[in-house]
């Protein structure tokens, strides 16, 4: 059912080899785009990822160091060396890791390779969130009232904003280093924690404060630009369902955005983008208040986790276009002004326990059954019987659905989640399955507080659920060793035949 708006194959091959400087699902996503463009994909891996799925998906893989990301996926010299060793002509950074690091972009270009992303100067100008806020203000894009916290903790300036306020890392993004502060008394401790997290995560302890917009929707605009200065505004995504200020669910179009608001959002996004010499993919994030006013949050100069939602409604392959514009191709008319069809929703499957504050649940994935069928796309970074690495992000897979309208997309998502089975550890799938039946979500009536206000730690088990799981466990015990956990009993080839026979019998 997937449609393509653009010509899927460029007339000339953009590159012969491309290094994918990432891991997990996004590395596989970029590898797939390379394959379709006729480019040989080269993966990188840390010692912990020798057997990882993304390594096997690539033509070859270069080892870039030990398990900790700081010594491998975040090591600029290791990645550059791997690119040169492999004969790659270009480097795609994915998201996270080095994707928004101007020093990395410069090092890639200095090594005579093409960086698949915006120019280093754009990463620099927009990477500092305090500077980006100022830039947005200068071009007439609204921002929430704010204050920067210098070395001497200018608490008074923050207090003048009025509580509650949000503390954020200047070098941050992706929700990390963010702290809500409700009253002056909590400010000192919150500043210390926010600084420590910012220092640990970004190597820069500078933070700033913004007056809290509440209730708020988180809506972002996808941009794609070429080296000739053409800029495509590819629609918005609503990312209001979050925990710890990090996204769990994204959809396009946003149920909270009417045509006038959409036009205003697009105009603001365009204004921010043209302040820098920009090409490639980026996203401008906004908060939307109850009256439909928008406030600039930040501009992410990279591919977003949730880019697939936009791909589904526009029929464009954003990753392929990132690579093509990096190679110098100009965006054609159908990309600059693509039609938008239907409704797309993405849910992120995380190794987290939604019944315990979305705490990460490291461990081993056992069963792994992903949904299929019409209008369903799964971008996964793991598979059955795989240890999860505590060093890296707990994102297991992204499940996306596309349908003619929002009710059909929700019905499709419910069906797809019912087909999804992940064993070995708790994931947020229980929350997501609850969400598709939540009346507010179905009505499009929700904001960034949904997880805290309506989910909490999840509903109590119903009597029916208890009786069903009681039966399942009792029958599993009575059935004996055939129903043991996968970790406890490695499979002999003989049992695979037995399973096959049983499945065949069930099909009749």
């Amino acid at each position: 059912m997937s449609f393509r708006t653009d010509s899927p194959v460029p007339s000339a091959q953009p590159f012969r080899r491309l290094l994918v400087a990432n891991r997990g699902e996004i590395a596989i996503r970029v590898i797939r785009a390379c394959r379709e463009l006729g480019i040989s994909p080269i993966a990188v891996h840390s010692d912990a990822d020798v057997d990882a799925l993304h390594v096997r998906a690539a033509d070859r893989s270069e080892c870039i160091g030990p398990a900790p990301a700081t010594e491998s996926y975040l090591s600029i010299p290791s990645v550059i060396e791997a690119a040169q060793r492999s004969g790659a002509e270009a480097v795609h950074p994915g998201y996270g890791f080095l994707s928004e690091n101007p020093e990395f972009a410069r090092a890639v270009e200095a090594a005579g390779l093409v960086f698949v992303g915006p120019p280093a100067a754009a990463l620099e100008a927009l990477g500092n969130k305090v500077a980006a806020r100022r830039t947005a203000e200068e071009v007439g894009v609204p921002v929430a009232p704010g204050a920067t916290l210098g070395e001497d903790d200018d608490v008074a300036a923050v207090e003048r904003l009025g509580f509650p306020v949000m503390l954020k890392a200047a070098a941050g993004g992706g929700g990390r280093g963010m702290r809500r502060v409700d009253e002056a008394g909590q400010l000192g401790e919150a500043i210390a924690t926010a600084r420590r997290e910012a220092q640990a995560a970004f190597g820069n302890g500078t933070i700033y404060a913004e007056r809290l917009i509440s209730p708020a929707r988180h809506v972002e605009v996808q941009l794609l630009g070429d080296r000739d200065g053409n800029l495509a505004v590819l629609g918005e995504r609503d990312c209001s369902i979050q925990r710890r200020h990090q996204k769990l669910v994204e959809e396009s179009p946003s149920p909270a955005v009417d045509d006038a608001t959409r036009a205003a959002l697009f105009e603001s996004a365009r204004r921010v983008a043209v302040t820098v010499d920009f090409h490639n993919a980026a996203t401008v994030e906004f908060l939307l208040d109850a009256d439909g006013h928008h406030y600039f949050l930040e501009m992410n100069t990279r591919l977003q986790v949730e880019h697939g939602v936009t791909e589904l409604v526009t029929g464009l392959d954003l990753v392929a276009w990132q690579i093509r514009v990096a190679a110098g191709e100009a965006l054609p008319a159908q990309v600059l002004n693509p039609p938008r069809h239907g409704h797309a929703i993405e849910v992120r499957l995380y190794a987290e326990d939604p019944y315990d504050g979305f705490r990460p649940t490291a461990g081993r994935v056992g069963a792994w059954r992903m949904p299929e069928g019409p209008g369903v796309r799964v971008d996964a970074g793991t598979e059955a019987d795989t240890d999860l690495r505590p060093e890296y992000d707990p994102l297991l897979a992204k499940l996306m659905v596309h349908a003619a309208d929002r009710p059909a997309a929700i019905a499709r998502l419910r069906r797809a989640l019912d087909e999804t089975l992940i064993g070995g550890l708790q994931t947020d799938a229980g929350f997501l399955r609850w969400l598709v039946d939540e009346p507010g979500f179905a009505a499009g009536d929700y904001d960034t507080s949904l997880v805290t206000e309506r989910w909490g730690n999840g509903p109590a088990l119903t009597a029916e659920e208890q009786a069903l799981v009681a039966l399942t466990a009792r029958e599993a015990r009575v059935a004996g060793p055939a129903a043991r956990a996968p970790q406890a009993r490695p499979e002999e080839p003989a049992s695979a035949w037995g399973r096959l026979a049983r499945r065949e019998a069930l099909r009749r």
Binding site: A476, A483, A485, L506
Partner: protein, 154 residues
């Protein structure tokens, strides 16, 4: 084995009548519950008396015990009630980034003890009960595995 007792959480639960369980992939615990009209896919993992059933994305621990296992478990619970010092262990692998107590400190229940960074998140470890910190087994900057002893409370 009709006298098997099934508990979901702390509650004894009567398994539902009229439904059957079909194993689809026993190796991974994939099964299908059906009452002849509807069907629900489930996952069942475990062995002996300890099971986890995943229903609509939620992992639900279930204990299935014989009367003998019940008696033994009750005896073990009674013994634990008299226990002395408690060792606090890491519930996830990560890096100790901050110690918030020192040996000899008296702490309240729920007091922050230390912070473990795992999967890019700072996780605060809190005191499960009030007591005195009698031993700290880790240092700031140290990597810990799941189950590693962190400190002891008396």
């Amino acid at each position: 084995m009709s006298e098997l007792e099934v508990r979901v959480g702390d509650e004894v639960v009567e398994p539902v009548d009229g439904w059957t369980v079909e194993m689809v992939d026993a190796g991974h615990g994939l099964a299908r519950l059906t009452d002849g009209r509807r069907s629900v896919p489930v996952l069942v993992e475990g062995s002996g008396s300890d099971w986890v059933v995943t229903l609509r994305g939620r992992r639900i621990p279930v204990t299935v015990r014989t009367w003998r296992e019940r008696l033994m478990a009750e005896a073990a619970t009674a013994a634990a009630a008299h226990a002395g010092p408690v060792t606090i262990k890491a519930t996830l692998p990560g890096l100790v980034v901050a110690l918030q107590v020192a040996e000899g400190d008296e702490v309240e229940e729920g007091a922050p003890l230390l912070i473990i960074e795992a999967m890019k998140m700072q996780n605060e470890v809190r005191a499960p009960r009030a007591g005195k910190v009698i031993e700290i087994a880790v240092a700031s900057g140290q990597a810990v595995a799941t189950g590693a002893p962190l400190l002891r409370l008396e």
